[in-house]
């Protein structure tokens, strides 16, 4: 019987959305291969074990809890060593991470320890006997590669938002796990965890992104973008193009594009964005794209599901008002 170990990412002892996406993907892959088990491991400080029932809600058969006072902050070396030890002990077919900042950091370490093949930032995968087939965007999203990984175990990381989390409740066995190395022996130490510029709703997790470009003319006009995002009642994050972050209008961490964040929200609203190839690479996998631009020939309209040609200084305030009304009146 096959099994996958999912590293379920937490922050401050709470599961992140990407953890549920990874469990759903593992459940789907194992079931498609004729059935098997999903083991979901969390690592954190004392109390992180309280997330076990949530792991089961999305389809984990076994919840592995690594609880240690020294793991209050991210400890890549201790976590990687422990995940690797669990994979070996459990004889798992694969380890699945999210390709978040944390997952991208741990997954190659685990592959190094295990001497395992690794595919990063995959959008889909299947277990095919001795091989794993994975789909992975390459050339900054301008092509899609199908990969074949040979060898057991294998290590995968999954692009946030590529798979929608689906509840599939299971009876979950909870097991506690000891760290494979002393967390205090880690050479890299996190000394501080601060809030990011622009708030805690991350671009990778926000269901809605409102992004602004040079068409806004100056930094102060980003207030229009922020107001539109606010109209969604807490579900929208604000992004920007490279031109805008290069000019210092917004923090570089919110840049969407091939050298910034790659995002796939349910709804992406591009405000005053022409649609340079480097920007499209970062958002073209969004589920629904809306573009507002005064130039009807702007490339952004080639990827937009819905476009409005017009002056954003007139369109955006009106849209903000209408979205606010629609969101306030939605059936709850």
């Amino acid at each position: 019987m096959t099994s996958i170990l999912v590293f379920a990412e937490t922050r401050e002892n709470r599961l992140r959305q990407v953890a549920f996406e990874a469990i759903t993907a593992a459940r789907t892959a194992v079931d498609a291969a004729g059935g098997g088990e999903v083991h979901a491991m969390v690592a954190g400080s004392v109390g992180v074990g309280s997330v076990a029932s949530d792991l089961g809600r999305y389809g984990a058969d076994v919840a592995l809890i690594l609880e240690d006072a020294a793991l209050e902050r991210y400890n890549a070396e201790a976590v990687a060593a422990t995940v690797a030890a669990q994979i070996t002990a459990g004889g798992h077919r694969a380890a699945l991470f999210s390709s978040s900042a944390e997952g991208r950091d741990i997954a190659p370490r685990v592959a190094g320890i295990l001497g395992a093949p690794i595919a990063a930032d995959v959008t889909a995968f299947t277990l095919d006997g001795d091989a794993i087939t994975a789909v992975h965007p390459v050339y900054t999203g301008k092509a899609i590669a199908t990969l074949r990984l040979e060898g057991t175990p294998a290590v995968l990381s999954q692009r946030p938002g590529a798979v929608s989390a689906v509840e599939a409740p299971r009876e979950t066995t909870v097991e506690s796990v000891r760290p494979a190395i002393d967390p205090a022996s880690a050479r890299v130490v996190v000394t501080q965890l601060g809030a990011a510029v622009g708030g805690t709703l991350d671009l990778g997790e926000a269901p809605v992104i409102v992004a602004g470009g040079r068409g806004l003319r100056e930094a102060a006009n980003f207030a229009l973008v922020e107001a539109l995002a606010d109209a969604f009642g807490g579900t929208a994050a604000v992004g920007a193009t490279r031109a805008v972050t290069d000019d210092g209008w917004r923090d570089p961490s919110v840049q969407i594009g091939q050298t910034g964040r790659l995002v796939s929200p349910d709804l992406y609203i591009a405000v005053g964005i022409s649609g340079a190839i480097q920007h499209l690479a970062g958002m073209r996998t969004s589920k629904v794209i809306v573009a507002i631009n005064r130039d009807k020939d702007a490339p952004i309209f080639t990827v937009a599901d819905y476009g409005i040609v017009g002056d954003l200084f007139e369109v955006v305030p009106k849209l903000t008002e209408e979205i606010k009304a629609a969101v306030d009146h939605r059936p709850s």
């Binding site: 370490r109 990063a120 990969l147 040979e150 050479r187 091939q258 059936p331």
Partner: protein
């Protein structure tokens, strides 16, 4: 400080391209190449560190075919002192195979820092740096957007989703560099002339076994054709209706 920077030769990200007839690679006709974006930031970071901390040496290391010499020379024209070219007719997709060759070449050379870009713009993998760190048993910090080096120790910032993490690490270390440390300089004419005389050592790459391969390459699926809902603010009510009733993203 003695710093090594590993760089990759990749297709120019601004170019459009077509998939080759084999369905597994790019059509190289008319293709242009460059140093992968984040690797160029890593070269810049190394140069700035030594400019700030007194004398040192920056070695650029690359793995690839003969034409990689162009990118190694470019890094030297930016200011790197020397280059190591690990020759291979093709660069495998498998990051573990690449890491094996790089670690082999970097081992025992007593670098204080080994820098990488946070990921290459061709494969988008970002696994080689941490895997080299594992093979050399060095501490590793990925995706750095701010860096300070003191006596035998460094402090770095990493931007996570919705948070910023500050970490400390001992030297020597392997670091992968994000944007934020300073935009790469454009080589001066003097730099370009000087780079021609700088040492470039070649040796065959000792690649590890390849267990991850590309079996098919395709253009991304076309988005279904969209539509212009209308002109100006008058089109907003119809747009909101479509988002609610057709796209169903407002419920």
């Amino acid at each position: 400080m003695k710093i090594a920077v590993c760089i990759k030769r990749v297709p120019d990200t601004e170019l459009r391209f077509t998939i080759a007839a084999d369905g597994q690679s790019l059509d190289s006709t008319g293709m242009k190449y460059e140093i992968s974006t984040f690797d160029e930031y890593a070269v810049e970071a190394a140069l700035r560190l030594n400019e700030a901390h007194g004398p040192g040496e920056v070695t650029v290391v690359g793995l690839g075919p003969a034409a990689l010499g162009e990118q190694l020379r470019r890094a030297m024209s930016m200011g790197a002192d020397r280059a190591i070219h690990l020759t291979a007719d093709e660069v495998p997709f498998d990051g573990a195979a690449i890491a094996h060759a790089l670690a082999d070449a970097l081992e025992g050379q007593s670098y204080d820092l080994i820098l990488f870009g946070r990921n290459a713009t061709d494969t988008g993998n970002g696994v080689v740096g941490p895997m080299v760190a594992h093979q050399l048993n060095l501490p590793c910090v990925t995706g750095i957007s701010h860096l300070e080096i003191g006596a035998g120790q460094g402090t770095a910032k990493r931007v996570l989703e919705g948070a910023v993490e500050t970490v400390t690490f001992p030297l020597p270390a392997v670091l992968t560099i994000d944007e934020g440390l300073g935009r790469p300089r454009i080589p001066s004419l003097k730099g370009i002339m000087g780079a021609k005389k700088k040492p470039l050592a070649e040796s065959p790459a000792e690649l590890g076994p390849v267990r991850v391969s590309v079996t098919a390459l395709a253009p991304p699926p076309d988005r279904p054709p969209g539509r212009i809902v209308g002109q100006g603010a008058d089109a907003v009510p119809e747009l909101v209706r479509l988002l609610r009733d057709e796209a169903k993203v407002l419920s």
